[in-house]
Amino acid sequence: MAQTKTKKKSTKKHDVLTDYGVSPELAVELLRDMLLYRRFEEKAEEAYAIGRIGGFCHVHIGQEGAAAGSIKPLRDDDYVVTAYRDHTQAIAKGVHPNAVMAELFGRADGASGGRGGSMHIYDEACRFMGGHGIVGAQIPLATGIAWKIRYRSEDSVVIVYMGDAAVNQGAFHESLNMAAIWELPIIYVVENNGYGMGTAFNRVSKTDMSAKSVPHGVPASVVDGQDVLATYAHFRDLITEVRSGSGPQFVDLQTYRFRGHSMSDAVSGTYRPTEEVERRKEKDDPIVVLGDKLLAGGQIDQASLDRMDDEARQIAQDAVDFAEASPVPDPSTLYNNTWAEINEHGRLFFDGRHR
């Protein structure tokens, strides 16, 4: 680690890590995280296929590097807000995989007590603030969390994720403008997988992603989300900067979705060629990219990689077992938490069943 930084790739064992200032231990941890996210999402797909999970379900397979690399440098008291592809980001921020899977199953022990489902994971203690289902609507909300940090003179930061399609919402532009004028500690991150559902970004935008924040005076940067080390290093530096009071930042976090938009959608065909998906899976799998580097660099061997993968599969299986064993929510709790304050006078419920 004492070697000087070099931009040039080297065959020396540790250079690929020192390029980014990442320790071998941290690199292995990032690999372990991504393996867990992959195996967790595969289990979610299985459970969805047999009807254990209902509704909409959007998995993160292919985008694990984006979640692991950007959330890892955060502190516990930093906030994460995201859209509906939220399972792995929740786990990355500290929500227990069991609580996430139980939420997908709609069980009482789910992170949101079975009230939210796949799109609405919340954990106040982990400062994981959802899980939001309306495209772009989480962006002003996250901006308000950053407002609270500034209001109370705290030094936390907020990362808010959105898909590439969300930058066409007014909520995005209104938020960046406000964050810029009030110098809020927030990083707006586009998880840019190239497609808003089935619509390629270049079909719905005349300008490049990196241009989107410029009119608002929010600095933009680009990073390859399939390279988790680059992503980690980029966010580590950016988070430090934002924490020091530099104001908001915008990141085009380029990634690729290996699955359909949601569980009910085709992986490819009408809107993107199958060859494109196959090529990206072959070349750009964030787990393989890092795994190969660490194998080549000698930081891990095949046996330890296999062992890590087995452990990830076991945690994912444990999450499924936990969710299966968790009870469905008690029917008597149907009306709970509709109101934070039941006023002493007057009626709040009007369906005739609740008095």
């Binding site: 609507a137 609270k148 403008n177 406000m178 709970n336 509709t338 934070a340």
Partner: protein, 326 residues
């Protein structure tokens, strides 16, 4: 008791609650340096500074969402809409985020936040600036709706709304800001949400209403009084929570009801009240309940047409006579 305007009563409520709790802040268009489009926030910037009295860009969706997020993170924001007509741009944040967050998160995030501003018609502002918006908000579980009609109610209910731990749509009347009335001088004058107020008493017919229409109802009651007809004027004050006990009490007393509201009839507040009365007090009714509402059209500009479209005391008197079979 002090006599003050509805505007000053709101201003006092804001000032006192901001003094009481440092987590309360006010954000909206023109609230700070301009002292508020309707001067409700006059002097607050000077007293509390620009950290707590904040001029926003004209971005209703954006600043409403920001305040919803600040509430989720533990602050107690007050959002001022210059008028509720502009709040339609932000209704996603109110309904999908503020009203549902506590439930969706299984009780992890209470959302104390007040959305306030004038609603309803003023004078010749035509369709986009003349509409009563309360039913859009009362429709959604998780959002309380408060509609004060007098200066005292404005002060006491705004203070209760700011202290409440749920989102509250607090709907003022543009034509009420200059109305004067007696307001208790107690620093801690709070009117609990969910308590209706009998603004006038009579035993022949019940006029149930809310918000600015309280004054129209009182005019109608005065006219009826000349014909020796006594009217109860029940001001709901809050639409949600709803003081159903007070409604049933007046229904059982007079057995004849007219609901008066400024909004449109279809799925209006009155439709809900009528449904509940027939469910819970059917045997006490001596006549079908009638409603007096805005004409079921967008508000026209021409003064003559606007007067025809708005609910009036004469139309309330007419409806009362009908339910009395006179």
């Amino acid at each position: 008791m002090a006599v003050m305007t509805y505007r000053d009563a709101l201003n006092e409520a804001l000032r006192e609650e901001m003094q009481r709790d440092p987590d309360v802040f006010l954000m909206g268009e023109e609230v700070a340096e301009y002292d508020g489009a309707y001067k409700v926030s006059k002097g607050l910037l000077e007293e509390f500074g620009d950290k707590r009295v904040v001029d926003s860009p004209i971005s209703e969706l954006g600043f409403t969402g920001l305040c919803v997020g600040a509430s989720m993170a533990g602050l107690r924001p007050i959002v001022e809409f210059m008028t509720f007509n502009f709040a339609f741009l932000a209704i996603d944040q109110v309904i999908n985020n503020a009203a549902k967050m506590y439930y969706m998160s299984d009780g992890q995030f209470p959302m104390p936040i007040v959305f306030r501003g004038p609603t309803g018609a003023a004078l010749q502002l035509s369709a986009q600036h003349s509409q009563a918006c309360e039913t859009y908000y009362s429709h959604a579980p998780g959002c309380k709706v408060v509609t004060p009609g007098t200066p005292a109610d404005a002060k006491g209910l705004l203070k209760a709304s700011i202290r409440d731990n749920d989102p509250v749509a607090f709907m003022e009347g543009e034509l009420l800001y200059n109305v004067k009335g007696e307001v208790p001088e107690d620093d801690d004058f709070v009117i609990p949400l969910g308590v209706a107020d009998l603004k006038s008493e009579g035993s022949d017919v019940s006029i149930i209403t809310h918000g600015k229409m309280v004054h129209v109802a009182l005019q109608a009651a005065a006219k009826l009084d000349k014909d020796n007809i006594g009217a109860d004027v029940l001001d709901l004050r809050t639409i949600r929570p709803l003081d159903m006990d007070a409604i049933l009490e007046t229904v059982k007393k007079t057995n004849r009801v007219v609901y008066l509201e400024e909004g449109w009839p279809y799925a209006g507040t009155g439709a809900q009240i009528v449904s509940m009365i027939q469910e819970e007090a059917f045997d006490h009714l001596d006549a079908p309940i009638l409603r007096v509402t805005q004409a079921d059209i967008p508000m026209p500009y021409a003064k003559s047409l606007e007067m025809l479209a708005k609910p009036s005391a004469d139309r309330v008197v007419e409806a009362c006579n009908k339910v009395l079979y006179r």
